[in-house]
């Protein structure tokens, strides 16, 4: 394992005020390293999605710090934070969130277009990433014409197209059958993970735990376990 990718310290997040206040994450600290495939697991309502959102610059914590490359991301302006997410983080959402009115290759090119890369160049690069995920032949189809597993791979291609340091997967196998889910995770570990990249996966699907280097267990907003690959 390499250097630190993320260093979260004393992260806390609550929703509501007064009697209605609900603590979603309670003083959580952890580190994630480059080259590591880290799972955050736990039952629904344990705070894992909230934690994921805080470390990826989407949800501001009520207290604590998130350091990425020694910089506290929550001291950034909103524009800097948007640039941070665009350049450093790749997201694979649970429902993929692909645009049905765009072609598959245009979906993959989105982060590059947001980075203001030339349209033709973005599409060219997106084709290369579709080839990596084995969907070169499906480039011009709209995502709705693809199977669930294929859409998941398109979402992965979109997430890695901007060459982020940190990849965030939210329940990647929730919409897939067991076999497809395992194939996707095998693919991610073999082709997406490298020494300069950290992958963080939120899941409660125990069928894919075997692909993790490390598993953080959460319950009631706290880390209750931190297991490393044997």
């Amino acid at each position: 394992m390499g250097n630190l990718a993320i260093q979260a310290t004393d992260l806390a997040k609550w929703f509501g005020e007064g009697d209605a206040r609900t603590m979603a994450v309670k003083s959580v600290s952890f580190e994630a390293k480059f080259g590591e495939m880290l799972y955050i697991v736990g039952p629904s309502g344990s705070g894992k999605t909230t934690l994921l959102s805080m470390i990826s610059g989407i949800l501001k914590p009520n207290s604590g710090t998130v350091l990425v490359e020694d910089r506290d991301i929550w001291k950034m302006s909103s524009d800097e934070l948007a640039d941070f997410r665009l350049n450093k983080i790749g997201f694979v959402f649970q429902d993929y969130h692909l645009f049905p009115r765009l072609t598959t290759v245009e979906n993959v090119a989105l982060p590059l277009i947001l980075k203001k890369r030339d349209w033709k160049e973005s599409i060219k690069v997106a084709h290369e990433y579709l080839e990596i995920v084995g969907l070169a032949q499906r480039a011009e189809l709209p995502p709705v014409k693809l199977s669930g597993g294929e859409q998941q791979r398109v979402a992965i291609a979109r997430a890695i197209a901007s060459r982020p340091d940190i990849l965030i997967f939210d329940e990647p196998t929730a919409s897939l059958d067991g076999d497809t889910g395992r194939k996707i995770l095998e693919f991610v570990r073999e082709h997406v993970l490298n020494d300069r990249r950290c992958i963080i996966i939120v899941t409660h699907d125990s069928r894919i735990f075997e692909y993790a280097h490390r598993i953080i267990n959460m319950e009631d907003g706290r880390i209750t376990g931190d297991e490393h690959e044997k």
Binding site: A82, L86, F93, H97, F99, R101, L110, K116
Partner: protein
């Protein structure tokens, strides 16, 4: 086009159903607004046709006159007094009144008779057939070749008719610049013949046409005419006075304004609602874009582009459709009074901008409020 706007364009036009609904809404609204205001502009233009066709720079009239056809005759001394005002190059009387013409087949037809000053024939029309001096010939009348001429049986030079039991002969056919509003033919004759052939009150001059020596003399002339108890207006002011009469004193203007407003509301409702649905359907995707790293202003620019593109396209289609309908109608019905003016187009354009603005504002509020965290929470 920048990449983000190209994405916005593709998201918009690839959703064919919604894009079509948006376009139909805006096109329909623009079409109705342009049609309504064009018809009104046509009516206003025709209501002032005599002022435009005569071409005098200044008109002296009774202050109670609010449109050309309802003139109030003035005593002869007014003309003399106006002629003596400093800055007046010349001033001549004009007769304008209605009469009944009995055609060869015994049918009666209402006409407008314009009596031109005998000496100068100031305000004479351009002739297509005949010579202007023939207007002095016995019983000579010039008929205007507009859409209404067929109501006189399409007379030629030499055609005869009766007017108030007097014999009338067509000695010339004049080109129509702008047709009148009320759909009746126009005859020109001399002032003296007009007042002798047509029953009139003690006073005979409907208007006094004034040629000022220079533009600078106009305020002084107005002032002096006011002292006489009459009103002196430039041609533009007279046209505006007539226009104001139809706009504010006949109910016509309010009705057209209401119809234009209704068209605007229809357009706003259809496009506003469709655009809102479009944004709602894509809201999660916009949230995902935000999570990926799109800035708020980039999403706003996408929405503004989508609303603006639809609005401009709908505007073009609406104006094109209205132009086509008006042109087709004029080919079939020469009487059809509608004209597209810069003002009409400007009004419709502003209305479309408001529709696009309000529609996009609804979407922008939604998109600005969506939190990327909501995407994770599902």
């Amino acid at each position: 086009m920048s990449g983000i706007l190209k994405i916005a364009f593709k998201l918009l036009v690839n959703d064919k159903g919604k894009f079509a609904a948006l376009l139909v809404g805006i096109t329909f609204a623009v079409f109705l607004m342009v049609m309504m205001t064009s018809m009104f502009a046509g009516i206003l233009s025709r209501a002032s046709s005599t002022v435009t066709n005569i071409g005098a720079k200044m008109w002296v009239l009774d202050p109670a006159v609010n449109n050309v056809s309802s003139s109030i005759p003035m005593p002869d001394y007014v003309q003399d007094a106006v002629r003596s005002i400093d800055g007046v190059k010349y001033a001549v009387p004009l007769y304008s009144g209605g009469a009944q013409v009995k055609l060869k087949n015994g049918v009666y037809q209402a006409v407008t008779v314009i009596g031109l000053d005998d000496a100068s024939l100031f305000g004479r029309p351009d002739l297509i057939q005949g010579k202007i001096e023939d207007i002095y010939a016995e019983n000579g009348f010039i008929v205007v070749q507009d859409a209404e001429i067929r109501k006189l049986g399409n007379p030629k030079v030499g055609s005869e008719f009766e007017i108030n039991d007097h014999h009338g002969v067509v000695v010339g056919i004049a080109r129509a610049n702008i047709s009148g509003l009320f759909g009746i033919p126009t005859l020109y004759t001399t002032y003296s013949r007009a007042i002798s052939y047509l029953p009139s009150t003690r006073f005979t001059a409907s208007y006094i046409l004034v040629k000022p020596k220079s533009q600078n003399d106009i305020p002084h002339i107005k002032q002096e005419v006011n002292k006489l108890g009459y009103q002196a207006l430039t041609d533009d002011e007279f046209i505006q006075k007539i226009s104001n009469f139809y706009k504010y004193q006949t109910g016509l203007g309010i009705n057209v304004m209401l119809m234009t407003l209704i068209s605007f509301i229809v357009g706003l409702s259809i496009s506003g609602q469709t655009f809102y649905t479009f944004i709602l359907e894509n809201l999660e995707k916009f949230g995902a874009l935000k999570a990926i790293g799109a800035k708020g202003r980039e999403l706003v620019s996408m929405i503004l582009f989508q609303a603006g593109f639809t609005a401009f396209l709908g505007y073009g289609l609406g104006v094109g459709l209205a132009s086509f309908i008006i042109m087709s109608a004029k080919l079939k019905m020469p009487d059809y009074a509608a004209q597209i003016t810069d003002l009409n187009l400007g009004i419709a354009f502003v209305m479309v901008l408001i529709i696009a603005g309000i529609s996009s504002l609804i979407g922008i509020r939604k998109v600005i409020r969506i939190e990327p965290f909501d995407i994770f929470r599902g």
